[in-house]
């Protein structure tokens, strides 16, 4: 019996530190392990004993790519706990801030992290020499996203302007006007990016995912909605722990998450699109059709197209929000601490992000729970890897490793968030 072990010691072009290892024994792929060795970061523990007002600035530090997501789920949970309803314009500004993060995070991933896989380059820098226009568009998109974060969040990375009850400061219409001009150009760049990505060679791959995402009565989901799945799950954020369970596996410092009695599931762009395509404007649905996307896309390699669709959406949505903006009379409502439990679930660029906080009567955090999207997707990513490896058994090790790394990048994992990167070992026998 011959066994071959395939290992990738450090996965490039993902956020965080992880490794991949699996065995090939008699033509069967076994023991697929996405090993996350990024040290545990203990954010939930260090939130205990802090004031509820401190939560948003602390959780923003979990991630340099998606700090807004942590602030949005955090503020939703704390305001749920305190029974606060914010002004509709505050809601609109938070959605606008989230649009900024989706634009910059997705654009960076599409052009600099994922596209090189399809075009055969080792990284975005090497690709830029031959695909300069695409990279320049991505940089312009990222800049537009950054402008939103800087104006609404106070700075581009780890924003500081969101507070419980609203914002510390809200922008004037005059301040938003130049950002709208950048977003108009960005929208055109985003359409060009989708058309560029639609020309990529996509491997045949169909996965039987259970998609999980938020669904909102009116909006493509960002800041709220019910948790729904392609197999009929339909619950409020408050019921998350009734349906989902986290468990530890020996090879990862990040907890794996499964649906009780059902197992693995997928969150992220593919899931959002599959469950909410009807919430996209008709012209954008037509662009998605033109790019070759089915209404429900089960080919994870095509996730790059869905992200490109979402960047177009975020640019258009941001323009709509700015056009309808009326500066609120007050930037925030006053809040009083109370004992209770609050739940918040929003859509980070990489998928659904759940927060739960319990406070005592003076507003001190007693318990915190944060379930990031990459943590939820780990088991499903391992199953993707098993399938990709099985399909590539005849390939040489380098190509097999490349295919496996690409399949991980299909889901734009943020491993630092989940632990809180990737070494690939292939063992053949």
């Amino acid at each position: 019996m011959a066994t071959k072990t395939v290992t990738v010691d450090y996965i490039a072009r993902v956020e965080g530190e992880s490794a991949l290892r699996f065995d090939i024994r008699d033509g069967v792929v076994e023991n697929v392990r996405l090993s996350i060795f990024e040290p545990p970061r203990f954010f939930e523990a260090l939130l205990r004993g802090r004031r509820f007002e401190e939560v948003l600035d602390i959780v923003a530090r979990i991630c340099g790519i998606c700090p807004v997501a942590y602030q949005m789920s955090g503020v939703a949970a704390i305001e749920n706990l305190l029974g606060i309803e914010v002004d509709p314009q505050i809601h609109a500004l938070r959605r606008l801030l989230y649009c900024g993060e989706w634009i910059e995070s997705h654009s960076l991933h599409i052009a600099m992290l994922h596209a090189p896989d399809f075009l055969g380059y080792p990284d975005g820098m090497a690709m830029a020499a031959d695909h300069g226009d695409a990279v320049r568009r991505a940089l312009a998109l990222k800049k537009a996203g950054n402008e939103l974060l800087r104006l609404l969040g106070g700075r581009e990375i780890h924003p500081v302007n969101v507070r419980v009850g609203g914002f510390y400061r809200v922008p004037s219409n005059a301040e938003l006007a130049p950002v709208a001009e950048s977003l108009k150009r960005a929208h055109d760049f985003a359409v060009a990016t989708l058309r560029w990505a639609a020309t990529f060679p996509f491997p045949d791959c169909t996965r039987d995912y259970e998609f999980v995402a938020l669904r909102h009565p009116d909006e493509y989901p960002m800041n709220g909605g019910r948790i729904v799945s392609s197999l009929g799950l339909d619950i409020a954020a408050a019921d998350y722990q009734d349906a989902f369970v986290e468990h530890q596996v020996p090879h990862s410092t990040a907890l794996h998450s499964t649906l009780k009695r059902r197992g693995g599931y997928l969150v992220g762009a593919l899931a959002r699109y599959a469950l909410n395509r009807d919430r996209l404007p008709a012209d954008l649905q037509a662009l998605a059709d033109e790019a070759g996307l089915d209404p429900v896309c089960r080919n994870p390699f095509q996730s790059i197209l869905v992200r490109a669709v979402e960047v177009i959406y975020a640019c258009g949505e941001a323009l709509r929000l700015i056009a309808e903006y009326e500066r609120p009379a007050r930037p925030f409502v006053s809040v009083e601490p109370r004992a209770g439990i609050g739940y918040g679930c929003t859509e980070a660029p990489r998928g659904m992000l759940y927060h739960r906080y319990e406070t005592d009567s003076d507003g001190t955090i007693v318990e915190a729970r944060i379930v990031p999207p990459t943590s939820q997707n780990q088991g499903t990513i391992e199953e993707d890897l098993r399938q990709v490896a099985m399909a590539g058994l005849d390939l040489d090790d380098e190509q097999l490793k490349a295919n496996c790394e690409q399949s991980i990048r299909n889901h734009d994992p943020c491993i630092s968030c989940a632990a809180h990167f990737l070494t690939l070992d292939v063992h053949r026998s």
Partner: protein, 168 residues
């Protein structure tokens, strides 16, 4: 410089003032600020390195000041020409969360968006703790880096003006 034209020389101080020796760049910027000619634009950057490309596009020259990782000589100053050579791997950022200076420079090179002159002053740091001041070794050389840049600027500005005049 004609009225309203963008300054053609950029000085970019990279780093965070509240992260120990990562604040070397901002500390030099504070010393430079009162002495800079009108045609020099000074910025501080502690966020998205990729945004630097937009800052130096159109400039005739850019001077960067950054801290480098600890080695055996805290406070050591190195000045590297990034147009003629890559930033050595030892100075590349070991982070997956953001593009560092080395990746930013190489991306700009691939896109043909490097300024004609691009130099970086690297100050070897000793400690990068949150909230910490500069280490004594780094604090001691802030003035020296400032003087070196101020000594170099007249020639850089003169060449930038010649370049602008020839463009016109």
């Amino acid at each position: 410089m004609s009225a309203g034209a963008a300054p053609r020389v950029l000085v970019a101080a990279i780093g965070h003032p509240d992260r120990g020796d990562d604040g070397a760049g901002p500390a030099v910027a504070r010393r430079l600020k009162p002495h800079l000619p009108a045609d020099v634009r000074l910025i501080e950057s502690n966020g998205d390195m990729l945004a630097l490309i937009d800052e130096w596009v159109g400039c005739a020259a850019a001077i960067l000041i950054d801290a480098s990782a600890p080695g055996r000589n805290p406070g050591r100053i190195r000045c590297l020409d990034l147009v003629s050579r890559r930033l050595p791997a030892e100075f590349a950022r070991n982070s997956t969360h953001a593009f560092g200076l080395a990746e930013t420079v190489e991306l700009a090179r691939a896109l043909g968006q490097l300024p004609p002159r691009l130099v970086v002053y690297l100050v070897e740091g000793e400690r990068f703790d949150t909230g910490a001041p500069l280490s004594p070794a780094v604090a001691a050389i802030v003035g020296k880096v400032t003087e070196k840049i101020l000594a170099e600027l007249p020639d850089i500005c003169r060449r930038a003006k010649m370049s602008a005049d020839s463009d016109a």
